[in-house]
Symmetry: D2
Subunit: 135 residues, 4 copies
């Protein structure tokens, strides 16, 4: 009914860029989002959120973001399950971004919202096997 996520954090690694069989670009990365408090040992902790970005925005992400980049991500929470190679059911939760902002100086280009969701696209069916996603 309503599903909105806003995050600011830093990439744990360079983004990975892939293409579906129809040539649709998909970028994935993990965002480390520091918690606003320290744990009981006084250590800083973070949540590690998997992000998926499609199409033009994916290519911008691959071009402008790298390990350590500060970024704002807006999107929706998505869950899916798949069987891994040992036949085990794996549950995945990730953020499908429709807006990614680059908050590090210098690189001026920003992704424009990529609002059509490729999973929903009838004209452009997404046929990457889910198992191909790096999460």
């Amino acid at each position: 009914m309503l599903n909105r996520v806003v995050l600011i954090g830093r990439l744990t690694k360079d983004p990975e860029l892939r293409y579906t069989q129809n040539g649709t670009a998909v970028a994935t990365f993990t965002l480390a989002v520091n918690r606003p408090f320290t744990n009981q040992q006084g250590e800083q902790e973070a949540d590690f959120i998997n992000i998926v970005v499609w199409r033009k925005a994916a290519e911008n992400v691959a071009q402008y973001l790298k390990k350590g980049s500060l970024s704002a991500v807006e999107g929706r929470l998505q869950t899916r399950t798949y069987e891994n190679n040992e036949g085990r059911r794996i549950y995945v939760t990730e953020v499908v971004a429709d807006n990614v902002r680059f908050l590090d100086g210098g690189k001026k280009a920003e992704t424009k919202p990529d609002l059509e969701d490729p999973f929903a696209g009838e004209a452009e069916p997404v046929d990457v096997s889910e198992d191909d996603l790096p999460f």
Copy 2:
């Protein structure tokens, strides 16, 4: 740095209420959030998001929500990992709610924001084993 989630959906089951060893209440439930589009077979799909609520809000949730209840949840995305009984590393993503609204008619009571995060509390350390959580 910034981590905010807002969801509206329906409970897939009755919430589960537990207590930590210090007597802190924790409620957990799964929210089915319908996607704004149908899949390529024209079927309605949903994301199933695990929600954790602490303290007074947990008790309100247990009292006022049940399977099928329509609810709005505000909170932050949290990730954690644990070893399951077969020694396997399991990755969990869930929403720690600080505001839960009951959108079904009738039940007037609403949870007030429960803003102190119990994981951060030094006075009241949370010592439920994470493995006890039903996710």
Copy 3:
């Protein structure tokens, strides 16, 4: 750079539906959003937020919402100024909705996200005089 608003509240009146000179539908209404706390006199208070909705979503709003309806609104904050009939500069802040959910039972229809922003459209310039808006 990033601009997101999520509200749940009740309409203070029936929505108003208008059309621009090119026939684009615009609905406006005010959402009363109760505050999560009472004031120092122990009274419930609310914020009254002006909402603007365009196109198909506008017509859905006009059809399905009325005074008192419970609704969730997602969108972006917009500011603009105009001179009123006495030559006075008036400052307006409103939410341009891209997603409106009907949370009252019965009416099943929901607005689908109306993601193209009409202010940005070159093909379909919006030429309602801003002074025509009821706020």
Copy 4:
């Protein structure tokens, strides 16, 4: 019922810091949030959102932010009205921040969420005249 705003933008001027009669700190500033599209003349446009921050966070804002600083603001939309000096009813919409992040390099300090809302405080009633606010 639910009222959440997330913004990223730049300060149009240095923040203003004031104190209520009880000594509660209040900072105010305006955030220019660039729109994700250009207008029909191809010009970049922005929304100018008034922000109010209370207590410790207010002092952090005054210390660490200045004209042009990039900042993320989380909070709730608030509306209020007052009579101006000509006896005219003025309507104000602003964001009461509970989380302000400093996204410009260098300044490491970040405001911790200042979660008690001073308007709600019984122990520490806020008695600045609303007319004193710079908006």
